[in-house]
């Protein structure tokens, strides 16, 4: 009776307190004003969430800690059953789970011992990793140490409780305590009386229950919040790898804030992202900005935005939206926001599917469109896009000059075509990339593909404008391009630029442009597979391939460019240490191509060093911006004489000529 009363009071306080804090967190979530994408495809969500949560798929991508986490996760699920029984029986002695039958109950008891040991192993490895191995991107965290202490003590208290239960009460199922009973025989050696042992059982039971309740109070303010948030966040994740940016509706007159000036301008899904972060540092480990000493770390930006949200919580909950402080603060600075190359290495690595770039893009949109605050060198880029439909300072009337004398029809000449060649600004204006386009044209002609270009009717897709945050400019370019493409009823498009590819394929849909868009790697891979292209010439003994972020992580195209290279006779494709989804960005994405890089080492040079490490005399690229960045890198490393950067189209051109 005394125990029941005590438990009701203690548990009431503990659950009351943590319930109150969870309710606040939930209200905060609901106060977020930014628009949230629609979450359809329920069946698919249930399946992937099951695999990712119960199967721990994403967590297991890092095998060692993944296994440890899986042990802890599964252990806790099972042990919670025992804890529930313990709570029930403390309320009313008769509420044991024995009603499930003797065999099942014995199994439950057995499982408690088994999973306690299981979890303990997991925790020991985690503690070893955190305190001894100390991987760089994990950092030091009191919160994490507290959690390890809490969970470790919970497990130890279970063993002690079970052992003294065996000694003090001699339950009928004592043999199912297949670990605790051995501990019991050790403690038996202390020679305590049965009453004392029973007393110790009660003591450790209370110790365990207190730890559980204490932990319940601790969780809402800790990174351990992920045990509640990460599940829903996983179920609500962006289901496809490929994604476009959120489209703003400028026709909506109620919309007066573009992008996020304050934390509350983000969406509730963004807040759920913040709640879900486990501070594991996987994102940071792969971030090209962080790895070249920029102030941006994707892990920190999530933690810092969470701090901003918490610091403003009273104002937000009191409805004082006006007084909420700015999203850009002492931690999340302008430099942090502009350092991102939007490579999505962070998002792809994150075990709980946090989408960092959404928040960075929203912050940029506010800076650019509401405050006109961005690196000065970007202004002429915007102006060029506005007046000439290209980020470079060239006239729109010169856009098709590269194709003079090549005999490529324009759509205006009304040819019958299989596919439209989308040239892009780099292919049209940049000297190095014009040659790439010429090579690709040779390849297309050799494979007898009927194609045409838009000529001077083509305009910049607006990719860079959008990534930098100038959604308004992006949309005006997108609308003109969609109009042009739809006027010619274009269905199939091929392009050598992953940025154009991503924009045309994933983003023009929102403006009424739905096309079958192929990157030239996919297109050439198909031509080779169907025998229309026969690479016969040797090009180089060794080639290494650099993954473009907008082809790989944004669109999941990793193998096609590799198959194009492998189709060349007698070539060895050597991979860099970081490749495919772990590949390092060249530094040009997210509009960084158009910004100065003044902090830290240069991303392109670091990536070039990784490429040079392979010893391959050819670095293959599949993106005009990667081409520029890597070529500059090779120049910086003074390797122009021994190493060439070539586009896969140039390789295919050389091999089929």
């Amino acid at each position: 009776m005394l125990q029941t009363v005590a438990f009701v009071i203690v548990a009431g306080i503990a659950f009351g307190y943590s319930g109150f804090r969870f309710a606040k967190l939930f209200q905060l979530l609901k106060s977020m004003k930014g628009r949230t994408p629609k979450f359809g495809r329920v069946a698919e969500r249930i399946v992937t969430a099951t695999v990712d949560i119960l199967g721990q798929r994403a967590v297991l991508r890092d095998p060692w800690i993944g296994v440890a986490h899986t042990m802890i996760f599964w252990g806790f699920l099972i042990i919670t059953l025992g804890t529930l029984e313990q709570f029930a029986m403390t309320l009313n002695e008769g509420w044991t789970f024995e009603f499930i039958g003797q065999t099942a109950y014995s199994a439950l008891i057995w499982s408690q011992d088994f999973f306690t040991a299981f979890v303990l192993y997991g925790i020991l490895y985690a503690a070893y990793r955190r305190l001894v191995k100390r991987p760089k991107n994990l950092g030091q965290s009191q919160d994490a140490n507290n959690i390890l202490m809490f969970t470790g003590s919970l497990m130890v208290s279970i063993f002690l409780m079970n052992s003294f239960h065996v000694l003090g009460s001699d339950p009928w199922f004592k043999d199912s305590y297949f670990i605790s009973k051995h501990l019991a025989s050790v403690f038996g050696g202390l020679g305590f009386s049965t009453e004392t042992n029973h007393g110790l059982y009660i003591f450790f039971k209370w110790l365990h229950m207190s730890l559980v309740l204490g932990f319940a109070m601790y969780i809402p303010g800790s990174k351990h919040l992920h045990i509640l948030a990460a599940g829903p966040n996983t179920a609500l994740k962006h289901l496809d790898v490929a994604k476009g940016m959120r489209t703003l509706n400028f026709a909506d007159e109620t919309l007066t804030q573009y992008g996020a000036a304050k934390i509350t301008d983000l969406s509730w899904k963004d807040a759920l992202d913040l709640y879900s972060c486990t501070e594991c540092g996987r994102c940071e480990a792969l971030c090209p900005a962080w790895n070249t000493e920029k102030p941006l770390s994707p892990k920190s930006i999530i933690i810092d935005m969470k701090k901003n949200l918490y610091a403003n919580k009273d104002l937000i909950l009191a409805g004082k939206a006006d007084e909420v402080t700015s999203l850009i603060d002492a931690r999340v600075t302008d430099d942090v926001i502009w350092a991102c190359t939007s490579c999505r290495a962070c998002e792809v690595a994150c075990p709980v599917f946090i989408e960092h770039t959404d928040k960075i893009f929203d912050a940029r949109r506010n800076l650019v469109m509401m405050e006109s605050r961005f690196p000065v060198e970007v202004q002429p880029v915007f102006k060029n896009m506005e007046t000439n439909g290209t980020p470079w300072a060239f006239s729109a009337s010169e856009r098709a000059n590269w194709a003079e004398g090549l005999g490529i029809p324009t759509m205006a000449e009304n040819p019958t075509i299989e596919v439209l060649l989308w040239v892009g600004c780099a292919g049209s204006y940049d000297e190095r990339n014009k040659n790439v386009l010429k090579s690709f044209v040779n390849v297309l002609k050799r494979a007898e593909v009927k194609f045409a270009i838009l000529g001077t009717e083509e305009q910049c897709t607006g990719d860079a404008a959008r990534r930098i945050g100038n959604e308004y400019l992006f949309q005006s370019l997108a609308q003109t391009n969609v109009e042009t493409l739809n006027r010619y009823a274009v269905k199939d498009i091929v392009t050598a630029c992953p940025h154009c590819f991503n924009t045309l394929k994933n983003e023009y849909k929102d403006f009424g442009g739905t096309y079958n868009v192929m990157h030239h790697s996919e297109f050439m891979a198909k031509l080779v597979a169907t025998g229309k292209l026969k690479p016969t010439q040797e090009v180089a003994k060794k080639i290494t391939f650099h993954d473009s972020c907008y082809l790989g992580r944004w669109n999941n195209v990793y193998e096609e460019p590799r198959s194009v290279i492998s189709a060349i006779p007698n070539v060895e494709l050597v991979e860099m240490k970081q490749n495919r989804k772990d590949g390092m960005c060249c530094g040009a994405g997210g509009g960084r191509m158009w910004m100065e890089e003044t902090i830290g080492r240069r991303v392109n040079v670091v990536r070039t060093e990784q490429a040079l490490e392979t010893g391959a005399p050819v670095i293959a690229s599949s993106c005009p911006f990667c081409m520029t960045m890597l070529s500059d890198g090779v120049k910086t490393k003074d390797k122009v004489d021994s190493v060439r950067v070539l586009d896969i189209a140039e390789l295919m051109d050389a091999s089929t000529s």
């Binding site: 469109m369 509401m370 006109s372 202004q379 007046t387 000439n388 006239s395 729109a396 009337s397 308004y472």
Partner: protein, 257 residues
């Protein structure tokens, strides 16, 4: 303070120049147009002064054909309060533009500062600012790269020959012709772009300001493209032979030595 900015719509800097069939001028069909870059410095300067002096207004003025209104929208989007479009036919000369602007300004609230770009990048005449100042009987400072404001007198740094500069002190009201270096023009924010679309632009006919055909002092005719650049010549041989060949060529072909 009453601040005015006089601006001009010009072809984009990247345009490929083509002449009209009769050589009477540059063919502007299909050419993108912009706010003349030096005028951007003028607009920016006026806006900064306004931001430092509460209660000021900035009025943008342009004189030109119907399409010229585009640059007024650009100026409004940057933050100007009002806009006046003086309807003046294409092909009018600097004198007509200056007369139109000066007469217009005389009718508006008395100006404290009138900003211009140092020249429009199409004809590069660099005459209107001074002509307006003369007609209004106020000083003008041209090619200004820096201004120190202090009440009724201002100090203007202006570029002079040989890459050096001088500082001129001048009493308001005055005309300022802005040059590169004066400031970094802003990029319009989206709310301002949206607002600019809806703002009213006051239209005045040049003829109502007394501008007549007889005011035209200059008529341009017979435009010609510059001769295409001849290909360069590479001089071969050892240093002595090269030097000899070079002197020879400078003497016989370039006729400079």
């Amino acid at each position: 303070m009453n601040l005015y900015v006089c601006i001009k719509r010009v072809p984009d800097t990247e345009m490929k120049v083509k002449l009209k069939a009769d050589n009477s001028g540059v063919d502007l069909a299909g050419v993108k147009t912009i706010l003349s870059p030096y005028d951007e410095f003028a607009v920016e300067e006026a806006l900064r002064v306004k931001e430092k002096n509460a209660g000021s207004t900035v009025t943008a003025i342009t004189a030109g054909p119907a399409e010229a209104i585009e640059v007024l929208r650009t100026a409004l989007a940057m933050g100007c309060d009002n806009a006046i479009h003086i309807e003046l036919a294409d092909g009018s000369d600097s004198n007509m533009a200056a007369k139109a602007i000066a007469e217009c300004l005389k009718k508006e609230a008395p100006a404290d500062l009138i900003y211009f770009g140092k020249e429009a990048i199409d004809d590069g005449a660099a005459m209107v600012p001074q002509m307006v100042a003369a007609r209004m009987g106020i000083p003008s400072v041209t090619i200004v790269t820096g201004i120190e404001y202090s009440g009724a007198t201002i100090k203007c740094k202006r570029e002079i020959e040989g890459g050096s500069s001088e500082t001129v002190e001048v009493t308001l009201p005055t005309v300022i012709a802005a040059s590169k270096g004066l400031n970094e023009p802003r990029y319009a924010t989206l709310p301002n772009i949206m607002k600019a679309k809806k703002k009213e632009v006051k239209a005045i006919k040049a003829s109502d300001l007394g501008v007549a055909a007889s005011d035209q002092k200059v008529k341009l005719s017979n435009f010609q493209m510059p001769p295409p650049k001849a290909a360069g010549k590479k001089i071969e041989g050892d240093a002595a032979a090269q030097a000899k060949a070079l002197v020879q060529l400078l003497h016989t072909e370039a006729k400079v030595v």
